[in-house]
């Protein structure tokens, strides 16, 4: 019952975000600030993880191709499929639930604890719109992060494979071009669009409705990470079931 009431409150929050809008001049500044923090600020860690995980996927695939009859271009093929279909859109999103989600929950939660949200409300500001809407818009650029992750994941795989001596450059490139289905890219970006909305709203919900003090801000960040990850994994399953089967 309590969980149902929380879900209900989440959807009421979503409705309120699109209620009374904040002045565009102020909103524009908030959106740019959030793009800087949430998108540009995440590029470094996403690039680092994608490059090395792409490399590890290629090495693992190469080490498991023991049968000499299996062509070496399968390494490139497996790396491309793993990175584009799952690693970049889904697992980077789970990592972002930790990085961006915790930031959103703790920043809004701290504003709640220090009565800054109450101060905004007393002024007659729609705090849902002021605090959460800029994050939704900023994270609409999240597919750019995933695009970078896909690119660097495949590059990482190529470098590990070629310079590790597991296959030749031409074999790897042949592999990443083999049986390419463009819809897989579309599928990955559809997932990403849903995940970006989840990444903006669930952590905001946990920050906005938290009660207590500094300790509870930490707890809210952890709970927010857990729920954001759970929702991302469930959505991933549902979207895959609907689009790929």
């Amino acid at each position: 019952m309590k969980t149902l009431s929380k879900v209900g409150r989440y959807f009421l929050m979503l409705k309120s975000i699109f209620g009374k809008f904040t002045k565009w001049k102020i909103l524009k500044e908030l959106i740019l600030k959030d793009i800087d923090t949430l998108i540009i600020g995440s590029m470094g860690i996403v690039s680092f993880i994608s490059f090395f995980v792409g490399g590890v996927v290629a090495i693992q695939t190469a080490l498991n191709l023991e049968n000499p009859l299996l062509p070496k271009n399968l390494i490139g093929f497996a790396t491309r499929q793993s990175v584009i279909l799952e690693f970049a859109p889904t697992f980077i999103s789970v990592i972002m639930a930790g990085k961006v989600g915790s930031y959103i929950t703790s920043s809004i939660g701290t504003m709640r604890v220090t009565e800054q949200i109450d101060a905004l409300e007393v002024m007659g500001i729609n705090t849902y719109n002021y605090l959460i809407f800029p994050k939704i818009i900023a994270l609409s650029l999240y597919p750019l992060v995933i695009c970078t992750s896909m690119f660097l994941g495949v590059i990482g795989g190529y470098m590990a494979c070629v310079y590790g001596g597991f296959s030749s450059s031409s074999e790897f490139i042949e592999g990443i071009q083999m049986d390419f289905i463009p819809f897989h890219i579309t599928y990955a970006f559809i997932k990403t669009a849903f995940f970006s909305f989840v990444l903006a709203t669930i952590p905001s919900y946990h920050g906005y409705f938290m009660t207590g003090g500094a300790l509870e801000v930490g707890k809210a960040s952890t709970v927010s990470f857990v729920w954001t990850s759970v929702v991302i994994i469930l959505l991933n399953y549902l979207i895959t079931q609907m689009l790929l089967t």
Partner: protein, 253 residues
């Protein structure tokens, strides 16, 4: 003027406010006092509209809050200023930006006009060389001054303060109390202050409402508080030896 009639508010079946009625007059500093847990903050939040009372009526200049449209409530909110216990300054903004913020949100004035008005208010609350500082770079007393400046920058009709001098040294606390009283008279606003600081009561208590267990136990002025025979008030106000002696001397005179 704010009139409150029979306000009741419960949380999870527990009545925190059990029917409070009072009138807070314009141009006066109205103090709500009482022990921790007596319902002061909940009462103030009901007046501010941050909490919806279960029953009862609140009138602002004779107009009932519950009968106001969304637009009228929004206008009313812009006529309110609030000084929070912890100041509630936006920590991503400088002192000047904090004070300019309400005007940027709700007026069509250009930045130069807004800055001019903000600096006028900054001068009024005696903030010196703090415009470009962030809230974590200034003292507690200065934070309160910024909060007061932010709350009066829009020329409010109503000023609410929740424990405005908590965490301040006695000298700064008196300065803040006097500043609030001066501003109340100067701008002719209705000021409601939540406090359990007895110095504030004696210093600026033009009207005092004493809450006990969610009920209004007593109301009067700072002069009347010396003569009251209400046991709850005397136990609360004269709980320290210093104030007991002050009362004895006052009554002798």
């Amino acid at each position: 003027m704010i009139e409150v009639k029979n306000i009741i508010k419960s949380f999870d079946g527990i009545e925190v406010l059990k029917g409070i009625s009072s009138v807070f007059e314009k141009g006066k500093t109205n103090l709500i006092i009482g022990q921790s847990g007596s319902g002061k903050t909940v009462f103030l939040k009901c007046l501010l509209g941050l909490l919806e009372a279960d029953s009862g009526k609140i009138f602002f200049e004779g107009k009932g809050l519950e009968k106001m449209s969304v637009k009228e409530r929004s206008v009313l909110r812009q006529e309110m200023g609030m000084v929070f216990q912890g100041s509630a300054l936006f920590d991503s903004m400088t002192v000047e930006e904090n004070i300019m913020f309400p005007m940027q949100m709700f007026t069509k004035k250009d930045d130069d006009e807004i800055r001019e008005r903000a600096n006028l208010v900054i001068k009024r609350v005696n903030l010196i060389n703090a415009n470009s500082k962030y809230p974590d770079e200034i003292s507690g007393g200065m934070k309160k001054r910024v909060a007061i400046a932010r709350s009066i920058v829009m020329n409010p009709k109503y000023l609410f303060c929740d424990e405005p001098n908590s965490g301040l040294d006695p000298k700064t606390a008196i300065l803040i109390d006097n500043l609030i009283q001066e501003i109340t008279a100067e701008y002719n606003i209705t000021t409601v202050i939540n406090t359990h600081d007895m110095n504030s009561v004696m210093e600026i208590g033009e009207k005092i409402v004493f809450l006990k267990d969610g009920l209004k136990s007593w109301e009067g002025t700072k002069e009347e508080i010396f003569n009251t025979d209400n046991e709850a008030v005397t136990n609360f106000v004269y709980s320290s030896d210093l104030f007991k002696k002050v009362r004895e001397v006052y009554l002798k005179v």
